[in-house]
């Protein structure tokens, strides 16, 4: 069984709540923090009965400092003190009005790891978790970390994820589509409580339409949980590599974690997925990465000698590829990736 280390970054002033060696689940809280809230001002000069400008010299805390409840903010020569009423960040002093700007710390908030595994390192800035499973890296994505069970919702790697495939059974799931999903399908997925979507590609226009819908929804007070999208091949109507699609089908129903912003998918208790190698050799199974063969799988029959001028006019090293969809074409080697099935896969 393969494993990878996932790093959970911690904002400053977080307090880890796990120790090295601890086993954690995706929903577990790994750390807590009290986030600063909106600013409040308190009178300093008034309390010290000093002119506003002169009171600046009485500050004992320096701007940027975190103060605990009851800590002294300012003290004058006669021993009069200004105490902060609650834990806060001291952000500045206004010499015209004699006030201090504070950002009180809010209620404690959990930092959820969204991964299952064993904690291997705890530091003030990050917690490392070793995940027993495989990682699939996408080329783009968006959205916060989510987790749920994997559900393949299309029959083939080149099929479009349609709105009709999203139903109540997909709620809380990470749904795998094929070549694309329309804005309508993404909006329905979000509305049905789908946690995330993994696609071969998506049209930029569909993604922007979907994001615009989400923005309007937030403006009218519609909330809901996080939602994440990861693209494995690129933008446009691009099918998923059939090898990776088949591998995901083999892990249907398993627990996964999806990190949209990092374009990363963890599949727990899974063997290694088919991997990619940049420089393909004759005989390799390959996948195209650019139009007109983006996402298409095939066999690199032979590499042409010297430089070949492709239809754009660019002279480049190229190869003859027989694609699985029946097409045959000459493709720049820079636009091909060899697929490698791990031993025993």
């Amino acid at each position: 069984m393969t494993s990878v280390v996932h790093r959970v970054r911690l904002p400053i002033a977080s307090t880890p709540s796990v120790k090295v060696g601890a086993r954690v689940q995706p929903a577990d809280v790994l750390a807590k923090r009290r986030p600063p809230t909106d600013g409040v001002t308190i009178q300093v000069a008034g309390q010290l009965r000093l002119p506003a400008a002169a009171a600046a010299g009485s500050l004992v805390a320096r701007p940027g400092a975190m103060l605990q409840r009851g800590e002294v903010l300012a003290r004058d020569a006669r021993g009069r003190e200004v105490i902060v009423p609650q834990a806060c960040l001291f952000l500045g002093y206004d010499p015209d009005h004699g006030t201090a700007l504070l950002s009180p710390l809010g209620d404690e908030e959990p930092i959820v790891g969204h991964v299952r595994g064993r904690v291997t390192r705890v530091a003030p800035s990050a917690i490392d978790v070793r995940v027993a499973g495989a990682v699939v890296l996408g080329v783009a994505g968006s959205g916060a970390a989510v987790h749920g069970k994997l559900q393949v919702a299309v029959a083939g790697a080149g099929d479009e994820l349609r709105a009709g495939a999203i139903d109540s059974e997909t709620t809380g799931r990470i749904v795998v589509g094929g070549s694309r999903a329309s804005a309508e399908a993404l909006t329905r997925a979000r509305a049905m409580g789908v946690a995330g979507v993994v696609l071969g590609g998506v049209l930029d226009k569909d993604l922007r339409d979907f994001e615009a819908t989400q923005l309007r929804r937030r403006e009218v007070g519609g909330g809901g949980g996080d939602f994440s999208i990861v693209l494995l091949e690129g933008y446009g109507k691009i099918g998923m590599d059939p090898g990776v699609f088949g591998w995901l089908q083999g892990h249907d129903g398993k627990l996964v974690s999806l990190f949209g912003d990092d374009a990363r998918l963890y599949v727990y208790d899974a063997d290694e997925p088919p991997s990619r190698r940049p420089l393909a050799r004759a005989g390799d199974r390959v996948v195209g990465t650019r139009r007109p063969y983006a996402g298409a799988g095939g066999r690199l029959v032979r590499i042409l000698g010297g430089l070949h001028v492709v239809s754009s006019g660019v002279p480049t090293r190229s190869g003859l590829v027989r694609f699985e969809d029946g097409r045959t074409g000459i493709v720049p080697l820079a636009n091909l990736e060899a697929t490698e099935v791990p031993p025993g896969g």
Binding site: P11, P63, L91, L279
Partner: protein, 545 residues
């Protein structure tokens, strides 16, 4: 009796984030010439690159050396430069978005930093949101700006306090580029040695003086991304080569490099001084970040396809920077994106007219047709006046710049024939009324009959064939209200044009290029400009659009 044959080779390598370019220099009939050249995605590795070079050498070099090229390349002199593998990240915290924030951001981007966050007090966020951004930022340095030099702005100090609240002790360095009067207070907010004060880029409401900040940030960036072998970093090496070239030729030289991820402009003066700017996200991968990029590409390029397809392409350039355009549409859209990136690279002006513009980077220098490279440079840079245009097709300038000063000059001299591929000369004017004559150009060439003056109308491009190695004397008569950039004392301007793969381009489209509003008219005009540049014409004939 057998005679041992040997040769001396030098390997020039330019390793970019996405593509690596290599040239082999060898002696050909007593002169140093470029004898092999290859470019490939960087991830393919050096072994593959050397294999390609050996193949080329085996096909062209002395047959008695066959079988020894691997060994010869192995012991060849290596001259190399590289682009830093990752962009250094910086967060800007400033008082105002338009003044201190914009000035600080511009200086940071021009110094090669990737500005990940810009937090200002007028950014529409709540204080809690600002604190949250600062506390979760993952950066290599902080830049704080605000306040004019003659004032102790409480808001500027608050900006520094925000960074002090979000930065871990012992964390990334802090640069204070705000009010001089607050420097000591700001430095006192951080542990000893953490913060440095530099000149305020907005010392008052009317002036912007970013030079000191930019130079400081360039130095800081080099310490962070490439503490060793600094001279081998492309952002250091390319300016050194351009400076030497400008000094040796006595020309004002602009080199522009649109890479896969970053972009660079280098301006070399005839006295050998140089000014360079690196935009960490100014390369093709960053085109998607330009405001309205897809729409603008479609507007300036008729072959690019529809806007949704261009939007997908721009994202894919970001996702797969080492891939190549395989269709005509994708190439056209990529080159149009490069023109937009070039325009944004020079948007703050270049001062006096240029003598020579050099296009570097694969998108420009390895364009399939020289006219495409000319078009990108002409439309992107809009060099007013009479300017020689060339490309660094071999990718040799960067590696040469990593040598010592004396060796750079020597290298420029030795490789004079192969260093740059001349595209020709452009004559670009500004002003004039649509449809009216903008300038009359008379071309005198030794051994050729004198032409009657060529009339270039406003909004028109004409190309006259002038092959590489040929020169022509130009007499240019700009119409009233039309300028070639420099002050003139006579109604006629004389200049020398040198030939190249495209020839002499007479460009009356103005600066910036004016486009018709109606989509059909715009498409027709843009297509005519493209055809005018691309069309093959018999020597001496002009092509008009």
């Amino acid at each position: 009796m057998s005679v041992a044959i040997d040769t001396e080779l030098a390997l020039l390598l330019d390793t970019g984030t996405a593509w690596t370019k290599a040239g082999v220099i060898g002696r050909v009939r007593g002169r140093w010439r470029l004898v092999a050249h290859a470019a490939q995605p960087t991830v393919w590795g050096e072994e593959e690159l050397l294999r390609r070079l050996v193949e080329q050498l085996a096909a062209t070099a002395d047959a008695r050396l066959t079988g020894r090229f691997h060994e010869l390349l192995g012991r060849s002199t290596r001259v190399e430069c590289r682009t830093p593998a990752r962009a250094a990240r910086l967060a800007v915290v400033a008082v105002s978005r338009e003044l201190s924030g914009a000035a600080a951001r511009r200086a940071a981007e021009a110094a090669g930093w990737h500005v990940t966050d810009l937090v200002t007090f007028d950014d529409g966020r709540t204080l809690a949101e600002r604190v949250a951004i600062v506390q979760s930022a993952e950066v290599d340095a902080w830049l704080v700006a605000g306040g004019f030099d003659d004032a102790r702005s409480a808001r500027a100090l608050e900006a520094a306090a925000l960074v002090a609240a979000g930065r871990r002790p012992g964390g990334p360095p802090v640069v204070w580029a705000g009010s001089e009067a607050l420097a000591a207070d700001v430095i006192g907010l951080f542990e000893k040695g953490a913060a440095t004060a530099v000149g305020n880029p907005r010392p008052d409401a009317r002036r912007e003086e970013p030079a000191e900040l930019r130079v400081h940030l360039q130095g800081l960036l080099r310490r962070i991304v490439g503490p060793a072998d600094e001279e081998r970093l492309t952002p250091v090496a390319l300016p050194r080569a351009v400076a030497a070239l400008a000094l040796a030729a006595g020309l004002r030289v602009l080199a522009v490099d649109i890479g896969a991820t970053s972009a660079m402009r280098v301006l070399g003066e005839p006295d050998g001084t140089v000014e360079s700017r690196v935009h960490a996200r100014g390369g093709l991968a960053g085109a998607v970040l330009l405001p309205g990029a897809a729409g603008r590409v479609v507007r300036i390029e008729v072959d690019a396809g529809d806007e949704p397809a261009v939007a997908d392409l721009l994202h894919n350039l970001h996702a797969r920077p080492a891939s190549l355009p395989q269709t005509v549409e994708e190439l056209a859209a990529t080159q149009a994106a490069a023109r937009l990136l070039l325009a944004s690279l020079v948007e703050d002006g270049l001062g006096a007219p240029l003598d020579l513009v050099i296009g570097c980077g694969r998108t420009i220098a390895a364009a399939p047709h020289p006219a495409q490279a000319m078009r990108m440079l002409l439309d992107g840079v809009r060099p007013i006046g009479v300017t020689q245009m060339a490309v660094d097709a071999g990718g040799l300038l960067g590696p040469l710049g990593s040598l010592s000063d004396a060796e750079i000059s020597e290298g420029l001299t030795l490789l004079a024939d192969d260093l740059l591929v001349p595209l020709g000369t452009s004559v670009v004017c500004r002003g004039g009324e649509p449809g009216r004559v903008a300038m009359r150009v008379t071309i005198h060439r030794a051994g050729w009959p004198a032409y009657s003056p060529i009339e270039v109308r406003t909004g028109q491009v004409q190309v006259v064939q002038l092959p590489r190695g040929q020169e022509a004397e130009l007499t240019i008569e700009p119409a009233n209200g039309v300028t070639l950039g420099a002050a003139r004392r006579s109604p006629r301007i004389t200049a020398t044009a040198t030939g190249g793969a495209v020839g002499l381009v007479l460009d009356g489209r103005g600066i910036p290029v004016g486009l018709p509003r109606r989509a059909d008219d715009r498409r027709a005009v843009v297509a005519s400009w493209r055809d005018s540049l691309m069309r093959e014409a018999p020597p001496g004939a002009e092509r008009v659009a």
